[in-house]
């Protein structure tokens, strides 16, 4: 490590910080540079978080709309016509609108909320604060990263309002459906906008990811060896590596799709007869796109879940007043997951006609991921064993995370085994599986992070009682929604069906669908309560009076309550120990900044 260079660059930023704290009227303090094009990682984190929350409300609201159709296929809701116009004539959502809603729900939540909103927020907030850096390696790139995300958001938002509607071929955007405007109304300009938005999004992710990696490799404070970093930072590191290596592949897939759409190429198209005429395209492979897509698509689910794992590890340790169990095993399992994430993509393609021999390797590698996942689960459970657990909304969401991660992870063992996947592929079982394991779990991790670090973000606390209500309703609701959904999948009921009443094999689930839809509406309402709590607490929450409200060991709690740009007013503290000295030698906690005492026991 080039410590000298690191210290030097930190010194420079520090001078800037001094100016700021001396209340000299500096040009950096203008409204635009402080709140809009801010280069302070803490402000950028807030920008990502709030944009993510807005998208989450939209994405979740879409799911409420299509669940209304699924749960009450015969009912009409006149108010739907007032908001959706001809997409819901007579108060019933049209199939076109239904598929657009489903597609946008997936795109928004997977990419804009659980990727940008989750790792964008917390990598930005915590990497500099927890490793002891004044800011990111390149604050400007960081700022760009947010604004590219913002642009991507604008384009995606625009696509919702075009006449032919947004993309509607499913969030995976498989060609030929997505390549041919004649195949689906959503594949007209909607897909172009979708691809443009996603390309901007990939740029944002790369700018952010490269920044996270270089920051945490080069800018750690004195004494902060890699093995002294909190697990949050390790998880953000692996998340960024996954993103940087896989997003470009996705982009290449999108560019080929764009060329098939407009340049007359045949990368994905062959032997197609549509809208009364045969197309000229020959020799392309629709399956090629799936390989390119899932080469990102699978790492993507770990991009979503790893940051949640990191934050949950941290929150569980802090609230149990115990060190995280098996710190090195936790890093090792993150690393193993990161490597395996690149080697399992074709398990999404077992029924595409994939060579069975090749499929066998993907079965093996897929089920192998269960080993590091199991290690993590057992380590979390051992972390709370013989602890002294303080239940905050953050720690409850962390416990909830472990519970849903187990439930959703175990069904992954079903789906990863190709023989079972043949029966369950593209059924509601898959929906239940991934919503529990990467939807609910990732959200739980995110909520844990928001409740836990809210004081660091805004110097105030969120209301705890609303937090408890939020947790319990969401936890119970999530299981009520997704647990019975497995049964629909076991019966073979396909996903993305607008109406099941015409099917003798599936129509017995009409009542269950209605029940699920009602719970969805309830859970959605409670999320609004959370959003209200969030914004209300920014301005009116209980004020933070001490620097370190959770008695945590990590560096972010050594900064002032309202830290300026540069984070520490004076020197950056030096680190002497790992982040998990809780309840050691009879002391509740020992901050990372405290030198190792002469009589201290080794860990």
């Amino acid at each position: 490590m080039s410590n000298e260079a690191t210290l030097h660059s930190q010194q420079e930023v520090m001078h800037g910080a001094h100016d700021h704290h001396d209340h000299e009227h500096h040009h950096e303090d203008s409204f635009i540079s402080k709140y809009v094009f801010s280069m302070d990682h803490k402000m950028i984190a807030k920008q990502f978080l709030i944009t993510g929350i807005i998208w989450a409300i939209i994405g979740a609201f879409f799911s409420v709309l299509f669940r209304l159709q699924l749960g009450f296929p015969d009912a009409t809701f006149p108010w739907l016509e007032s908001i959706l116009g001809h997409w819901a004539k007579g108060g019933r959502i049209s199939p076109e609108a239904y598929y657009a809603l489903v597609t946008m729900h997936g795109t928004i939540l997977v990419f804009f909320v659980l990727t940008a909103g989750l790792s964008g927020t917390f990598s930005n907030l915590l990497i500099p604060l927890q490793i002891g850096a004044r800011d990111m390696a390149s604050p400007f790139m960081n700022c760009l990263s947010y604004w590219f995300f913002f642009l991507a958001s604008l384009v995606m938002m625009t696509s919702l309002f075009v006449q032919t509607g947004p993309a509607s071929g499913g969030w995976t955007m498989y060609p030929p459906l997505s390549a041919l405007g004649d195949a689906s109304i959503g594949s007209k300009i909607g897909v172009d906008l979708w691809l443009t938005s996603m390309a901007l999004f990939v740029v944002s992710q790369l700018l952010g990811g490269l920044n996270y990696i270089s920051t945490l490799l080069n800018m750690r404070t004195k004494g902060m060896a890699m093995t002294k970093m909190p697990l949050t930072i390790w998880s953000f590191f692996f998340t960024a590596v996954l993103g940087v290596l896989s997003f470009p592949v996705l982009l290449s897939g999108f560019i080929l799709l764009l060329m098939d759409r407009h340049a007359g190429t045949s990368f994905y198209l062959s032997d197609i007869f549509i809208a009364g005429k045969a197309l000229a395209n020959e020799g392309g492979s629709a399956i090629l796109y799936q390989h390119l897509f899932w080469f990102l698509g699978h790492p993507e689910v770990y991009i979503i879940i790893l940051p949640a794992m990191g934050m949950v590890s941290e929150v569980l340790a802090v609230s149990s007043r115990k060190p995280i169990f098996g710190y090195l095993a936790m890093i090792g399992s993150l690393f193993a997951i990161c490597i395996l994430a690149f080697l399992v993509w074709a398990h999404h393609m077992f029924v595409t006609g994939l060579n069975p021999f090749l499929g066998a390797f993907f079965v093996l590698l897929t089920l192998l991921i269960a080993v590091p996942s199991a290690i993590k689960v057992f380590n979390w459970i051992t972390t709370i064993w013989k602890g002294n657990i303080h239940f905050t909304p953050a720690s409850l969401f962390s416990i909830g995370f472990v519970s849903t991660f187990i439930s959703g992870g175990l069904t992954g063992i079903w789906l990863g085994n190709s023989s079972i996947d043949i029966h369950l592929h593209d059924t509601m079982f898959v929906i239940a599986h991934f919503h529990i394991v990467m939807g609910v779990s990732a959200f739980f991790g995110m909520f844990a992070g928001i409740y836990h670090w809210f004081p660091k973000l805004y110097g105030r606390f969120m209301n705890q009682t609303i937090g408890f209500i939020h947790f319990w309703v969401t936890m119970i609701g999530a299981y009520l929604i997704f647990w019975p959904m497995h049964y629909e999948g076991m019966a073979g009921m396909p996903r993305r069906y607008y109406d099941i009443s015409g099917w003798s094999s599936f129509k017995q689930f009409g009542g269950l669908n209605e029940f699920i839809s009602i719970v969805v509406i309830l859970v959605f309402a409670v999320q609004l309560l959370f959003v209200f709590n969030f914004f209300y607490s920014i301005f009116k929450g209980r004020k933070m009076t001490t620097q370190n409200p959770w008695n945590a060991t990590t560096l972010e709690w050594t900064t002032p309550i309202h830290a300026g740009h540069g984070n520490w007013p004076g020197e950056i503290p030096e680190v002497h120990r790992w982040a998990y000295d809780y309840s050691k030698d009879g002391r509740d906690f020992i901050p990372q900044t405290e030198p190792i005492g002469p009589n201290e026991s080794a860990h």
Binding site: A183, F273, K322, L367, G387, T411, Y487, R496, L528
Partner: protein, 348 residues
Amino acid sequence: MSGFLAVLVIVLIFIVIFQIAKASEYVSILKGEKKAREQSNRINGFLLIAFLVLGLIGVYYCNDLLKGKILGESASEQGEGVDTLIYVTLVITGVVFVITQVLLFWFAFKYQEKEGQKAFYFPHNNKLEVIWTVIPAIALTVLVAFGLKHWFQLTSEAPKDAAVVEITGKQFNWLIRYPGKDGQLGRRDFKKIDEAVSNPLGQDWDDQLNKDDFMTTEVHLVVRKPVKFIIGSRDVIHDVGLPQFRMKMDAVPGIPTTLWFTPKYTTKEMKVKTDNPDFTYEISCDQMCGNGHYSMRGVIVVETQAEYDAWVAKQLPQYGLAHPAAAPASPDAPKADSTQKAVASNIK
């Protein structure tokens, strides 16, 4: 109006919850932080253990309620292997599920914060780590081994005597073609597709093998006789989903795929077995294919050999429909070597 009222009620509920939450914050300040913390900890600890107990009861109840609605016995011989594997996996994952969830919530409840309780400093233990690396690894090896055994059986070559049915997906229905008496499907070319002249598949009428091929609206199969589906698509990707037979295969334009299975029960037998007079074997499209995706339904009728033969006798070759003036196709039409090769490559 009722919509407005509903919104009003929701807003009111929100305000009430918010006021209670706000008040509880003040109360906790009045009571003292420590006491409030103890109280909320006790409540949440209790809720955690209650959630575990009620949750496990709920899991049982849910199963009791829904187990009758999922598929019964597999209707194909190949599907039996899938079902066995599902049961083995269910037992293994079920045991892990119960153990881990019980430990998680039990520990959370048991080790909740208490006056005078000290957390146990326990940063690592290599023996434990080894145990829970090795045990899952062994369990997974078993599952992989079983899984691959079935996988290779399911994806093996169809037996030589298997009947052949071609299923082609289009937005939004299935085109079904039988090879006719000669047992071989004729050549197709997507550029020859023309619905107006009754040629939805683009059959090449120069190919003699096409002369006896017939198209139907339902798939008819003979019970206990293996059948091979040759699957393709005319436009976008579809998927032939056969939930009762535990089979599934994508229909990809330009790339033919296959699957084969042996139906065990006739449709009539299944009506009795499932105690459902409306029972039908259905083909569901399982790959998002556009706005009519949810309605892309096909029907399979499994019947005895005699019933099947009677049905086949009634079918008219597509050639005849496309050439109303021409004479009916002769089954003894000469077969050129080149055409046979073309067909072989066409159907793989």
